[in-house]
Symmetry: C2
Subunit: 202 residues, 2 copies
């Protein structure tokens, strides 16, 4: 069984990662989206176990102490983390796994699993990002300002990623992500080989 | 003007590079296919200046002495070469350029232009390759044997390429090449950047 590919997707809050990921998964049904554990409150429509594992601060601290997280981060005052055993399980099954995580988390994954494909998603402009955050309608004015300031800081981190995609239009961005994943699978350095028969014959 | 991407495509004779390239160009009209100079005789349907620049041995030797070739190779007793100034011109204009060249030529390009994206195209099986060479109907039995033996040797070279694609079906292979080109354009190491406005604002 060929091991699956680990893909890390980051980008400022409100850039549209979630929407693009859903479109990407429709294009690549074999792709699994990682479900993070978080201590933040569910937003309207979010379902436990599908969007996140919503856990308490105490549960998070216990898992952290056990070394159970591949990566974790504190964002906007809440904790987010990816459980190591969930990641290992999916990759071992041969499925590709996409982690939608923040730049601190991506840095940790890069260290522990340098084979991960890292992608940064940028908005077409800061004005567009602001509109998206306001349009979401789930944040108060102070949180919006906080998110925008964080976004400005986070934008600088794109340099640490292998790929940069600009989310101008959801379907085009999803197609681009699919292209990146498919082309990474063709990399000789990732084990792409001619079909077995040729290798044997050669 | 952003410089175009140089893409090198190699693979054994008969693997279907030409057919895939035509399909690729239909998908990516901005992509330019490099036209090589060659001393071999035109095959039926091949047009001078479109498929190759058909030149004499004397002309080839003169250009070689002038250092005019980015790469050149002797294959099946004939010479093939890519003219440096043609490549430079296309890339400077911002267009991507695909070089369909043999493994000796790819090695030279890799040395002179390490930024080139290198792709090796393999057949789904040696039997399939043999069928395609026979089916072409333009070669006598001795030439077919010669090409197959060369192909077996050439298959080993895939390890020196960044990407391996298996040409099972023309359209799928062309789509994969398009994915590789599009994803390479998103590489931060190749200069992918967030739109100017953000860079300035950040």
């Amino acid at each position: 069984m060929k091991r699956g590919l680990l893909i890390v997707l980051s980008g400022p809050s409100g850039v549209g990662k979630g929407t693009v990921c859903r479109s990407l998964q429709a294009r690549m049904p074999g792709l699994r989206l990682s479900v993070s554990a978080t201590t933040r409150q569910p937003r309207p429509g979010e379902i436990d176990g599908r969007d996140y594992y919503f856990i308490s601060d105490a549960q998070f601290q216990r898992l952290l102490a056990e070394g159970a997280f591949l990566e974790w981060a504190r964002v906007h005052g809440c904790h987010y983390g990816t459980l190591k055993d969930k990641v290992a399980e999916v990759l071992a099954s041969g499925s590709d796994l996409l982690l939608e995580i923040d730049i601190q988390g991506a840095e940790q994954v890069r260290r522990l699993m340098p084979e991960a494909v890292t992608i940064f998603m940028a908005p077409p402009s800061m004005a567009a990002l602001e509109q998206r955050i306001i349009g979401r309608g789930t944040e108060d004015a102070q949180k919006i300002r906080q998110r925008l300031e964080t976004a400005r800081q986070e934008m600088k981190a794109y340099r640490s990623y292998e790929y940069l995609v600009v989310n101008d239009e959801v379907e085009a961005t999803a197609a681009l992500l699919a292209s990146i994943i498919q082309s990474e699978k063709c990399r000789v350095s990732r084990g792409a080989r001619p079909p077995l028969q040729e290798v044997n014959e050669v």
